[in-house]
Symmetry: C2
Subunit: 428 residues, 2 copies
């Protein structure tokens, strides 16, 4: 029975029963965490062998003979560039392999545009009174935090029919030359799990921004992170850009954080050869080079792209059942009541749950008080402000399955509690 179809008496009985369940959960004093998209220890174990690939007996030379222990190799060893090129389906010349964090590379790209501009002769973003940014919502909190730190004004653009609202994006960028960028997680988007359609990708490539230094930040964080045997597919934005001559408009980012080690993976920026040349010129002043031994470890362990794909299947085998725990609980515990909506993603790290409007903060608070840490409500929106107070990001990968079962049970109870309270309040 839908919650909204209950009489007020039924609703009050329902609420009382949920209150009692909630108190019993609370009494257990559990400590559970569904807040961050972290791999579990078991997933990290999948890459244990990588640590043996570079040891005191292994030799330290890249294919071109470079001693990976010493200085040099600003943009990465050739075989690491090739790995990312295959992952993103672009040319090795379009790859810059940086440190262990793609977030850091995105931050760095904004720093460089801020101080030096996006290319030779371009005006530094920092020299504008104000610049603005398009944020597809819900989205990734760490993206939005970068804009907030820089004082970049964020403009929300929602999904429409499961895709970014391209009409709105096209209109915004065409009209306002202070709009300098947009965050995109084009595949298995954080948190919605959305993969951009071919039409969406083509429309991104065909954008006609008023600002010549407008950049698409294409954070392809989950490009190989499929959960099923029928994965989504994503059109290659670089090809589409080249087809219309807009290849300087896009920066791609990827990492192996969720392929090997979350804290000790490789990250890369990919861009047009012109943009990469500029990035290399600026970076040559910043560092002599990133950790090439870790690059060597990766390419030896993964053995190229085919090995990487194989590795990801092992991750999927571990993660998919965790998604299933949450999804089947939601189907069973929430769907019949009609108090929330969500999608089953084909990949990525999250389930995006939309609670009845005005309930998300309370649900997260109820979870917290019962020992379950969720991502803060609102985190998937700029400035932490969800206008509907509805979206909650669920991250099922880190806990064990029994932990996840317990946490999901509490989460579902919190959703029912909050929804029933709200409905009752509305009727009064």
């Amino acid at each position: 029975m839908l919650l909204q179809d209950m009489t007020s008496t039924q609703l009050e009985e329902f609420l009382a029963a949920e209150e009692s369940k909630y108190q019993s959960y609370k009494a257990k004093g559990m400590k559970l965490d569904m807040s961050r998209g972290k791999p579990s220890a078991q997933q990290l174990d999948l890459a244990a062998g990588m640590l043996d690939c570079v040891n005191s007996q292994s030799g330290y030379r890249a294919a071109d003979g470079m001693d990976c222990r010493n200085y040099g190799g600003l943009d990465g060893i050739a075989e690491a560039k090739l790995l990312f090129a295959e992952m993103l389906n672009i040319k090795p010349e379009e790859v810059f392999v940086g440190g262990n964090s793609s977030l850091n590379l995105m931050y760095d790209a904004i720093c460089k545009a801020w101080i030096f501009g996006t290319g030779e002769g371009a005006k530094p973003w920092g020299s504008y009174e104000k610049i603005r940014w398009i944020c597809i919502v819900p989205g990734y909190d760490r993206h939005f935090a970068i804009c907030e730190a820089f004082g970049i004004e964020m403009l929300n653009v929602p999904f429409v029919n499961g895709q970014p609202d391209m009409d709105k994006i096209e209109a915004l960028v065409a009209a306002d030359e202070t709009i300098k960028g947009i965050w995109c997680v084009p595949m298995y988007s954080n948190p919605t799990g959305t993969t951009y359609s071919d039409e969406t990708v083509r429309r991104f490539a065909a954008l006609k921004p008023a600002a010549k230094d407008f950049r698409i930040f294409w954070d392809n964080a989950y490009c190989v992170h499929h959960l099923t045997d029928t994965p989504d597919s994503l059109l290659n934005i670089m090809d589409e850009c080249k087809a219309v001559g807009s290849e300087d408009m896009v920066y791609l980012f990827a990492s192996t954080s969720k392929v090997t080690f979350a804290g000790a993976g490789l990250a890369a920026t990919a861009a047009s050869e012109k943009n990469i040349a500029y990035l290399k010129k600026l970076s040559a002043v910043q560092t002599i080079g990133f950790d090439k031994l870790n690059q060597l470890r990766h390419v030896r362990f993964l053995g190229g792209y085919a090995g990487l794909v194989k590795q990801m299947k092992k991750h999927a085998a571990m993660i998919a059942p965790k998604f299933e725990v949450v999804l089947s609980a939601l189907d069973k515990e929430i769907a019949p009541l009609g108090i929330g909506s969500w999608h089953k993603p084909n990949g990525g790290y999250f389930i995006s749950f939309d609670a009845p409007n005005g309930c998300a903060k309370e649900i997260v608070q109820l979870c917290k008080e019962a020992g379950v840490v969720m991502t803060p409500a609102g985190a998937s929106f700029p400035y932490g402000k969800d206008p509907q107070d509805s979206n909650i990001r669920i991250a099922p990968t880190f806990p064990t399955i029994p932990e996840l079962e317990a946490a999901t049970e509490i989460f579902c109870c919190a959703v029912r509690l909050a929804a029933a309270k709200k409905l009752l309040a509305e009727r009064k």
Copy 2:
């Protein structure tokens, strides 16, 4: 016999003999490199065992239980912070362990001051029409390159009696609030090998800059890089600053690039707790954390500061004889002619050679044509401009001893050639 005491006929005979030697060197078609302060492969072998300290069987947890493979630990694991704290003789709370490059940390410190200011409420450096920087010369080319990239105007301050000219530095910073920083390599300075005296350090700590956001960039790159059993000693600037209440004025930098692996070491920023708190706040937006497995590798391998000191003695045993090759050749081949000056450093990576004025560029060019790559003349000065065209930085660590002997022979010949030509030209 001093070159200047030769008659013109003697000088012409000398020149002809050197020309003939030079042509024979050139004919050999050698390829030698004394240009960069890189450790040799043998030095890197000293840390081979480090790579076995984290492997598939080793366990991955830091002392506090953190899984070093996963996300987190923004400012480094506690034991890595302790290692740098002991290295720099400061508190672990004053340490931020970053990636593999202290140069990158310095660049980052300037980026952050440029965009966000040096602390809460401080005006961003980038919002000034122009800012300026003091560069003690000769100094480190990569420091100067950062200033040049940012468009920071560099002001040269020379050494006087073997120490930075503190009178001039004090006067400059007191008079001009657009002077925001100074580069210092306080121990075994690049390239001169100078260690700052106690008085110099105290005068740095006691600086009274007009700019409240003036910062001393104390690049203690060679703090443990002694070459002899009677090393220099350096006063602790943090203690001196605290004694006069100026501890927010200094950023310290250090790395293990020349302790373990040049390309895969650890780097750290050290600063007052107030400055570290600000750095952590800004960095939390930039990255989730640096490579903690490499931190674990380091602390397991070095086993703390005592182990690090022991490791450095092994480096000294390899490097000291290389310095000796160059110094004894200079003593034998150049000193009697009076056509150059240099010091024997007690540590660091360089010998700073001052040729007769107007000869450095030609010497480096002659070396190049005979197959010996030197650091470009002028590199140790801002904008690559040595006003005397005299200083040449010699980096003896990377070549083997036979290579170094051959390269030094050619270098000495080039010095004699250039000096004799110049003297003859002056007499005409």
